[in-house]
Symmetry: D2
Subunit: 166 residues, 4 copies
């Protein structure tokens, strides 16, 4: 696991601080509205049944994954990618986001509220004091087993550590 955890780390990224930020304040509502208008102008809304849009999103996630599939470990900022590949990564990420907002609309799920609720839930579940520096949460599997019985829970708990998802 030691090597595994080492591989898991971003050696070139200090954990504290980060200068990167998105350029604008585009809202989730803007993305939803842009896609809604785009489809309505083309009378495509009739085809956007929830499971149709969900499968379309799965397709875009597959396209995004293809851009990373033969790269081996990739460093932050994608230094291994050509400028053209980086444009493609942005396009596939945009497609995933567009379909996710579309799916939320079809399901009548208030995505911004869902995000707020999720972070609140995560903060209660993983008080930074308790888990601070417990990086082994990400890789020391056996500790989980001892701590929280069922294997499936351990796995989801491991995943939850990343963002406290339920």
């Amino acid at each position: 696991m030691a090597q595994g955890s080492y591989n898991g780390r971003l050696s070139n990224v200090p954990d504290e601080g980060d200068e990167f930020r998105f350029s604008s304040d585009m809202s989730l509502e803007e993305v939803r509205d842009l896609q809604n208008k785009f489809c309505r102008e083309r009378q495509w809304g009739q085809f956007h049944a929830p499971r149709n849009v969900l499968l379309a999103m799965v397709g875009e996630v597959g396209e995004l994954s293809e851009l990373f599939q033969w790269k081996g470990e990739v460093q932050r900022g994608l230094p291994e990618f050509s400028s053209e590949e980086k444009v493609q990564v942005g396009e596939e990420m945009a497609d995933v986001l567009i379909y996710l907002c579309d799916l939320a609309e079809q399901c009548k799920i208030d995505l911004p509220q869902a995000v707020r609720d999720k972070f609140q839930k995560n903060a209660q579940k993983y008080p930074s004091g308790r888990v601070f520096g417990r990086s082994n949460k990400y890789n020391d599997y056996t500790e989980y087993k001892e701590e929280q019985a069922p294997v499936t829970l351990n796995r989801s708990r491991e995943r939850e550590e990343a963002d406290g998802s339920e």
Copy 2:
């Protein structure tokens, strides 16, 4: 294909007009910043290598799919789902979005700009005049074949129709 296209339609949804909107104007930058802070407070950023976060997002897309897997066709607004299931759908959508913004940060991709560029590209590619009402674009496969030779392009083109993705 006729039946296929009929199945593909949302019989209970008029194509024009739509009252639904997200409740707030939460921005993509807010989501990125919330996740960045959440992980930094827990020193988890060191584990968020691009492919780690990508696989975490794939995991969340899988969890979202599980909520739809035995439902058969689902109607708009998820009338078939319990209130508890709807909460879960929102949580899994939130997880996908959180990891997508996290991935964009790790890749240093400006997601809002990528979305704008994508819609601009789509608008040029699919002028509403040309494709208006051409719903068969979504299901008449043979027409595609005649129009645009390579099969892989046909498929992506079919998918592109939904949001003009490349």
Copy 3:
């Protein structure tokens, strides 16, 4: 939920009996061996690191999903698909299987044994006597909640019903 479960049903498929079978007895080992030879002849094995192959498989699952994305509910045997689309479905399924066997080899996982162990586990977990006809296991969410506390378990349990996966 009633309608949801009705939608979930294949109205045109009797539950008991099924004539369909695969034409040959191609083994998993043959698939693994064919892919191993194919890659070795081209010196591609060096690129088939486990996570590379995993992401390639995710890409193929995305391509398979794209073939179903605008179809709405699909009937058994894909009557809504053109013969050309059916060929594509077969090709994408083949790609998923080829990469899955490749991934099992890279991970040195004995896939046939894993399948046997899984079915044995499932048989113990879901004795046909207990669950026979309890179709609501597929859609009655609330029953789960009362039965087995944690929500994540409910979801996986619902999924497990399909094949008893852990």
Copy 4:
């Protein structure tokens, strides 16, 4: 790209030769038949509509991905995984395979024949003579661009290199 391709390589795996093989000759038909019987005994077949099974498979691919999500680069044979994690990897792989064979049955796709057709197609498309040692096919993106125009084709072509998928 140099570093990218280096990362992409399995430094500890010689390209030629490979001792690993699956322990048995379990056939795809056996997997299909085991799942068909398992579901029929429980009257679950009625819920296995094609898109239901497809989404269930996507869910299992997500669970498999979760097992690799915080690992960073993983070495062949999974030395970084605990024995318990390796069992889980096998279980999730089994779930993906079981649903894939189930999906093929629901779609009435002859999976073994599809695999044979695919390898034949790949062999014609990528004669080992032409591509032997052209490892850059996996990572030299610009070469693709010059060679085969459309970007989407480049991406799929890159993917195709792995198994010649269409």
